[in-house]
């Protein structure tokens, strides 16, 4: 597939943008605005502060995970294990809450979640196994581990009213729900890391054309390893939100999240070949998906119509993106 990329003609270097290039560069923002306008015109309930925060809230769990996964994908790999890992982390933190108290529970949850991230990172970074298959295997194994840990039972926090654990999913700061705040703050922080730090630049380099990254093997291994730690970390943060919101957890709570996360990342224009991508665009991608879901439900369509719209939106968005890069709407082979 890398060969394929090489066959694309680079876009013209004129500073004047053709319409195609404009859409390629700003397409995601245009789609975002388009979504807002269409839904606002269709239903007066859409454009309210309340509903806006509902959308951001509902996007915050998938979105927070997507922040970490964006690093993985820019590094040229995939992570399909995040859905199972979310279930694992949520069950763990909720179950431990009553046993050891919220503070220790959160620490232990992050320790074990990062440990699993490290296993992913070791297998893919150091042993250089294929990331799709490794994380597919981990998806199954982590689900099993979660079930063995909980014995297949739901876990619950008994005293829901008087625990500061409620902070992550149920409280507000200056009128902004904390889940939305976690998502936004983490997004800004990671965007800065990605663009301004040496670490961020190196992630771009290892994901870009392999030979261009003239790192010693060891450094490359370590960088890939660290992207998986990062996606495990953001998954842990999402588990805090989810666990606190529900104050309980089923063992399969994160089932299918891996693909929604990936859909958000892809919609944000991050290339699966690695080497390009942006946190802000991932955030917009996830928000578009959440808006489609929210808007269609407000309009009274059954929940599954959002899947059809998502299908069209993903393909059109990615198509425009790469069409702009090659300067032609249709592919040449």
């Amino acid at each position: 597939m890398k060969a394929l990329l090489g066959s694309f003609r680079p876009g013209s270097k004129n500073s004047e943008l053709s319409p195609l290039q404009f859409f390629g560069k700003h397409g995601i923002s245009v789609a975002f605005v388009l979504c807002v306008v269409i839904f606002s015109l269709a239903t007066d309930r859409f454009l309210s502060a309340d509903n806006f925060f509902t959308v951001v809230m509902q996007a915050s769990i998938i979105g927070t995970i997507a922040l970490g996964v964006t690093f993985v994908v820019i590094g040229g790999n995939l992570d399909l294990s995040v859905g199972s890992l979310l279930s694992f982390a949520t069950v763990l933190v909720v179950d431990l809450h009553d046993k050891v108290g919220p503070g220790t529970a959160i620490i232990l949850m992050f320790v074990f979640t990062l440990l699993i991230g490290a296993v992913n990172g070791y297998l893919i970074g150091y042993l250089r196994l294929n990331s799709l298959i490794v994380t597919l295997g981990m998806l199954s194994a982590i689900q099993g581990i979660t079930l063995v840990y909980s014995g297949g039972k739901n876990v619950d926090i008994s005293d829901q009213e008087n625990t500061w654990f409620a902070f992550f999913g149920r409280e507000e700061f200056l009128g902004i729900p904390i889940p939305a705040l976690i998502f936004i703050v983490l997004g800004i922080a990671l965007q800065i890391v990605l663009l301004k730090s040496g670490f961020g630049r190196k992630i771009f380099a290892i994901g870009g054309n392999g030979t261009a990254a003239l790192f010693s093997g060891l450094r490359r291994n370590r960088l890939v390893f660290s992207t998986y730690l990062l996606s495990a970390f953001t998954t842990g943060c999402a588990a805090l939100i989810l666990g606190s919101r529900v104050m309980g957890s089923q063992n399969n709570v994160g089932e299918g999240y891996e693909l929604l996360v990936l859909a958000g990342v892809i919609l944000g224009g991050t290339s699966l070949l690695g080497g390009s991508g942006s946190i802000i665009r991932t955030v917009i991608g996830v928000l578009i998906l959440a808006m489609i879901q929210n808007g269609l439900l407000l309009l009274g369509y059954p929940y599954y119509t959002q899947w059809l719209v998502t299908w069209v939106v993903i393909i059109v968005a990615v198509w425009l993106d790469i069409a702009a890069k090659r300067g032609k709407l249709l592919s040449t082979y």
Binding site: L127, N130, A263, L273, W307, W311
Partner: protein, 316 residues
């Protein structure tokens, strides 16, 4: 003897299949039994049929994530339309739906140049939406018992479903190994640009393979629905993941250019035998998940070592 050693080196998954057979035969008195073997073949046929098509697509360097949703679409149409079109007509529409989804994926991947992973990820979400719209979230039941009788029928005491699977496996093997299309599958997967320069029409070629996997996914869904005499809108969830797993276990590289139907058959049987054997041994379902996941990663690791020894390069 050398040939056998050679074969084993090329197809390490078959060693694993043999080990599994020996292990389960010793540990369960119900395992080593002709009836059980035909059970395993029927159980393997669902993922197996899809995996045949997936092998072509993956050697091409593509992937198809929409097969699970296609399974549900074809099964729902083939069962749901029976009252209006009769069994033959409904099955034909079901098979056609698979061909259409495959063609749509293929044309989008070809004309837009969007990576097949993304094209079919979109389709996986969207086609499931089509299924829910068509079925209105309901399961359908085949009122004509001839439909489910077919799923249970046997020829020479071998289940028809198993026979269909074996037959199509042989056909797929012959096509991949001995036809021009088969050779082109490897050429396109090995180096797309070189294949194009050599005069292969890469786009239409890939389109045919997407149609093939769409058709086989539909067939698999319909045959599955004959086993149930019914269809459910959630049918086929995660089948894409198990299919890809089986194909990769069978030695096909995700980067394309390398793979075989014999290997895929081994991968499919490995999963089916593991599941069947663990059922017979009553391994708790929670542990089954852990065992399957771990085995997948271990086989991938071993396969990579084999490949590196033979200088076939890194399959990353």
């Amino acid at each position: 003897m050398n040939r056998i050693v050679d074969l084993i080196k090329k197809q390490p998954i078959w060693i694993f299949v043999l080990v599994c057979i020996v292990f389960f035969s010793v540990s369960s008195p119900y395992f080593f039994d002709l009836n059980n073997f035909s059970n395993i073949l029927v159980q393997a046929s669902t993922i197996g049929l899809i995996a045949l098509g997936m092998t072509f697509v993956m050697i091409n360097g593509n992937i198809d994530l929409s097969v699970g949703a296609t399974v549900a679409l074809a099964a729902s149409l083939a069962v749901g339309l029976q009252s209006e079109l009769g069994i033959i007509g409904a099955v034909a529409v079901g098979l056609m739906s698979g061909i259409m989804i495959g063609a749509l994926n293929g044309i989008i991947a070809w004309k837009t140049g969007v990576d097949a992973f993304i094209v079919t990820l979109g389709a996986m979400i969207g086609v499931r939406g089509l299924v829910f719209i068509y079925t209105d979230e309901q399961s359908f039941y085949a009122y004509d018992l001839a439909y489910s009788d077919f799923g249970a029928s046997e020829i020479f005491s071998i289940p028809v479903l198993a026979l269909i699977f074996i037959l199509l496996t042989i056909v797929a093997h012959l096509i991949l190994k001995y036809t021009i299309h088969g050779r082109n599958v490897f050429a396109v997967g090995g180096n797309r640009v070189a294949a194009k320069e050599a005069g292969i029409r890469v786009g239409p070629h890939m389109l045919i393979n997407f149609i093939l996997v769409g058709f086989l996914a539909a067939l698999s869904g319909i045959l599955l629905s004959t086993q149930m005499g019914a269809s459910t809108p959630n049918l086929g969830r995660n089948y894409e993941l198990w299919t890809i797993t089986a194909v990769v276990l069978g030695g096909t590289r995700l980067t394309g250019g390398f793979g075989s139907i014999i290997g895929t058959l081994g991968g499919v049987l490995a999963i089916a035998i593991l599941r069947n054997g663990m059922n017979l041994l009553q391994v708790p379902s929670f542990y089954v998940l852990i065992i399957l996941g771990s085995i997948l990663i271990i086989v991938l690791f071993i396969d990579k070592r084999f490949a590196e020894q033979q200088g076939q390069g890194v399959g990353a």
